[in-house]
Symmetry: D2
Subunit: 176 residues, 4 copies
């Protein structure tokens, strides 16, 4: 039996589920680079992946991932009650609980991420395109929004950090 | 097989699930009366229940109810993956997806409902007390927040309507 | 002196302010058509504008518009306290209160609008491009997000209505 | 002229404005203690104040505070456009932009804070009672929600930290 909370187990389960659902941190990092490269031309892939890892370390984020992937899995197995089963299986247009859960991820690094979330959710670059291909078997109704939200939150984090770095450099210039 | 969307079936499933989980519209109406009676002393129970019914007629609200109750049911049956199973079963303190889904219900009638939602979610009057009693069997991790959110949204709707009524009366006074 | 609330005055002030800031309902309608034409090929400009008008009739929406435009105006006149003055005047990247207020508009028609909001906020088609052109004088830090949110909310409303229309037609087909 | 962003100036302006508006960090700490003492009986006032300080160090939080207090100040001086002037001056019941801005503060430490925010916003213990007393002169329409949100966010932060501390202790026990 699991002890009360146990952060390690929650974090490990999140990482394992993402992997099992075919999501690689590197691919989320690519979304971050896609979103931020125009603003920070020197941004490296390593920084993007590190930012994704920091987002993934938050309990709020882990909770949303575990919950969303669970619903995708159950819909795949046909185990949700009708009509929720059909709604999630088909990623129905009037269903917004996937967006709602994902916004909780975006919020962790502030409101400047809303725009990036909506943008890649619609444009579907990289991994998001693959997650959205319907083959009548795999269900990624929640996962595609979650991945977009992770990239948006990691981008917000970078925007905040880059400003801090810039100010530190300016300070050392001033002190000369 | 269910046809695309079919609003009737979604609405019926929502009403049935609430009933099966022991939630009576009258009890939600009592929460609304509790929240609003100081502001509108003449408010009747009938108006409160009608307002709850109007909230329940929204697709956004139905989606959140179907999803939340589904997760409660699966946790009761021990069918969620660990550690989400333990998290939802115990209504763990650091898990906020229930609040997130419920806020989507509150939002439908505007931001003035946030306060009422938080207030009764903490105070737990009436039906909310019953839903929160842990007996080691029933799981209402999502349902108690959903019921509180329904009452908060119905209260916001009443606040908006009462103002409209007041202005109509004032207008007819002015026109004399 | 204004009487308590007075919905008419709030609605009129909102319409007047939008007009004075150069926002035409027709241009918001064009954004709606841009967002929805792929899903509903027969959608007319008249339907889009009518949907915008319905969104604009909500008090929650009017409150956000009045507040956002007020902050833009004060920043234009240099009347905000430093550093908020500089932050709003320059539409600073780490400032997200404009997105926060706009999301309250989107929420009124449910969470399916988040994606559309983020998408056009980033892509900046039509009127959004004009509102974003910095000339060192006009400030539209809040207004551009507000206009995007109005279009996103009106689009969500259309998605909900079109489904209802479709079901009514299906019903009459079935009854033959 | 202010340089781009300058985090120090934003942080200092936030602290100064709170002080000028009569808000003492100690009083926010008291709200935190009020909210959390039943869950963590050994929680000290020092920990509560430190948590408030950490919340106040976030740019997202500072932005919301600067914006909200600015609107309160302008309403006090009668400098907002009608009808927004009357709406903010009277803290009108159907106006929810104050709650919207405050929720952005709560969000920074996750969704578990929504309930605490609503609860103290309605109950108005300690400083919140004073901020809500209408004397026909001072306007705290935004500030009272902001202070409640700061206390709610600081409480969420404590809930997350206490869990981490508990797990560390458990780990060292296990390693013996």
């Amino acid at each position: 039996m699991i002890d009360n909370l146990e952060s390690d187990k929650v974090a490990e389960a999140t990482a394992r589920l993402l992997r099992e659902r075919g999501v690689d941190k590197k691919e989320i990092g690519e979304l971050v680079l896609f979103l931020q490269k125009d603003y920070f031309p020197k941004l490296t892939m390593e920084e993007c992946i590190e930012s994704v890892e920091r987002v993934l370390s938050k309990r709020e984020v882990q909770n949303a991932i575990l919950t969303g992937i669970q619903l995708d899995l159950l819909a795949e197995q046909g185990k949700l009650l009708s009509p929720l089963q059909e709604i999630v299986f088909r990623d129905e247009g009037l269903y917004g609980c996937d967006e709602v859960l994902s916004l909780a991820i975006v919020n962790v690094y502030g409101s400047i991420g809303y725009t990036n979330f909506g943008y890649i959710d619609k444009l579907k670059p990289g991994i998001l395109k693959r997650l959205n291909e319907k083959n009548g078997k795999d269900v990624h109704t929640f996962l595609d929004d979650i991945v977009g939200a992770l990239a948006a939150a990691a981008s917000s984090r970078i925007a905040h950090r880059k400003q801090a770095e810039k100010e530190e450099t300016d300070d050392s210039d001033n002190s000369q």
